[in-house]
């Protein structure tokens, strides 16, 4: 076992994993995290706490993870390279392990221009792939980036994001291969709406043998409203929303019901694709709906390992 985390156990025993995410508050209330943890605890194997997502200042991922640990839940810490240099990164990793975090998602981070502090200096001391390399070295060699020894173990299950819908399309699998080479253990993809395009990407992934080397969890974003569908189709870099989905949302009498239906269908479809080992449900500001989606997709109860 690399980390002994619940997520690692489920994936390495060949079971279909379910993860979700909690957005921390733009404030100091621990209650916000605790409430979301309560809602999601029985339907997920691990819970991501986002890291200043969209470059909007929120309570840190590490602190959110600690709050989940206090509830005996399993967090996935997210770390963007936008906001901290290698000194702070390695320092936070040591602290995270000491505080019980066992899963770490390594990300570039949305550019600061998108957020609520667009004048901030973006750090980007290292990139996300170099971060994966760094965490792997800390874990497997017990060494800091500079080669010095780390006292104690660094049991972390290393994750990264992948976007099958970004460009250049042919290069996306090569980039995944780079992440695998760097040492990534699991991938959570960007939200999938175009299942056909996703399965083409998965075919390329299998051709490279990457499905044997990394566990891929398919991202699913439940749509709450027509406005949300249109917004994502038009404005979010790297999300591909097919016309039929927008049309379904437009025609629906109950938008939320249709959104749940679509999410469940997507999970059922991607579950059948060879090489997909789990689902990562990103219910932005709609965490309450996740237990129902997991249940209707036939994924309850979650295995105890």
């Amino acid at each position: 076992m690399k980390s002994g985390s619940n997520l690692e156990k489920i994936l390495t025993t060949g079971q279909f994993a379910v993860t979700s995410e909690c957005g921390p508050p733009k404030g100091t209330s621990a209650q916000v995290i605790k409430r979301k943890g309560e809602i999601l605890k029985s339907c997920c194997d691990a819970l991501n706490i986002t890291d200043n997502q969209t470059a909007i200042v929120r309570m840190s991922s590490l602190s959110g993870c600690v709050l989940l640990r206090e509830m005996n839940l399993e967090p996935v810490m997210q770390m963007v390279v936008r906001d901290r240099n290698r000194i702070a990164i390695q320092s936070d990793i040591l602290g995270a392990v000491a505080l019980g975090v066992r899963n770490l998602l390594c990300l570039s981070g949305d550019h600061q221009k998108f957020g609520n502090h667009p004048q901030a200096k973006g750090v980007y001391d290292i990139d996300s792939i170099q971060l994966i390399q760094t965490v792997k070295r800390m874990r497997d060699e017990k060494k800091f980036m500079n080669g010095e020894d780390i006292s104690g173990d660094v049991p972390l299950y290393i994750g990264a994001a992948a976007n099958p819908f970004a460009d250049p399309f042919e290069f996306r699998v090569r980039r995944l291969a780079k992440k695998v080479k760097a040492g990534v253990d699991f991938i959570q993809t960007q939200g999938i709406f175009d299942v056909e395009k996703f399965s083409r990407w998965m075919a390329m992934v299998r051709d490279e043998g990457l499905d044997q080397k990394v566990h891929i969890l398919a991202g699913v974003i439940p749509i709450k409203s027509v406005g949300m569908a249109r917004y994502m189709a038009r404005n979010v870099a790297g999300i591909s929303v097919p016309g039929e989905i927008v049309a379904r949302m437009e025609a629906a009498k109950d938008a939320k019901e249709e959104g749940v239906k679509i999410a469940v269908e997507i999970i059922e479809q991607v579950k059948e694709i060879e090489g997909v080992h789990g689902a990562h449900i990103m219910a932005v500001a709609w965490e309450d709906i996740v237990p129902r989606i997991v249940q209707e997709a036939g994924l309850l109860p979650r295995p105890i390992v």
Partner: protein, 222 residues
């Protein structure tokens, strides 16, 4: 070349408040070529300053002059006898020139008329864009000659990130994703295998982050 832009006129006039005898000093090199601070721009800005002061009923006396460059001591030396007579020197050079004037003439009030933007190229007449960030350790042999430090918004060494769509950067449709350009270029040159290697973590100590930089060539010193 260094590319700069004139500061908003109101900002310049605010800087000049209270100063009556002003030297408006242009530079004949980079800022001439990007039409920000050459002899012509000196004339225009001086005319505007006079008009503004006239409108306000305030006096001003402007001397217009342009040096070949403001970054070599030989040219700044031409000013040694006269600089003392001015209340302020409004330098239309890039930040390098402004600094050097301040270094050389400790008694002079030196003000910047320009905002220095970047090291870049003239894509066409009237359009300039950034190419080099002066990071101190060039890796262009590994990226097909296109610089991710200067041209990737996140300075990624192993891009593109997930925000690259249709060859454009996530920050704006007007910004090309340089990693997409690097990919296309290496593909065209049959050198795509270069991208399979993970580019190593950068040593930022030779960049501006490591402190102000200096080069000394003993073999050239007199």
């Amino acid at each position: 070349m260094i590319v700069a832009e004139q500061k908003p006129f109101a900002e310049i006039m605010e800087m000049l408040e209270g100063f009556q005898k002003i030297l408006v000093l242009g530079c004949g090199t980079c800022v001439t070529v990007c039409f920000a601070g050459g002899a012509k721009e000196v004339e225009i800005l001086s005319s505007l300053i006079r008009m503004d002061r006239k409108k306000k009923g305030q006096a001003v006396e402007i001397v217009e002059r342009t040096l070949v460059r403001q970054c070599d001591p030989e040219y700044l030396q031409e000013l040694s006898d006269s600089v003392g007579q001015f209340d302020a020197v409004l330098s239309m050079a890039c930040g390098v020139g402004v600094n050097f004037l301040a270094d050389k003439f400790s008694q002079a009030i030196v003000l910047p008329a320009l905002n220095t933007r970047f090291m870049g190229v003239a894509e066409e007449h009237g359009v300039w864009s950034e190419r080099c960030a002066g990071c101190g350790d060039c890796i262009l042999d590994l990226t097909g000659g296109l610089c991710p430090v200067a041209r990737c918004s996140k300075g990624l060494f192993n891009g593109p990130c997930g925000g690259s769509v249709h060859g454009k950067c996530e920050i704006s449709r007007d910004v090309d994703c340089v990693w997409h350009l690097i990919y296309d270029r290496l593909k065209g040159l049959n050198r795509l295998d270069r991208l399979d290697e993970i580019l190593p973590i950068k040593d930022w100590s030779v960049s501006p982050h490591g402190g102000p930089r200096k080069i000394v060539r003993e073999d050239l010193k007199v």
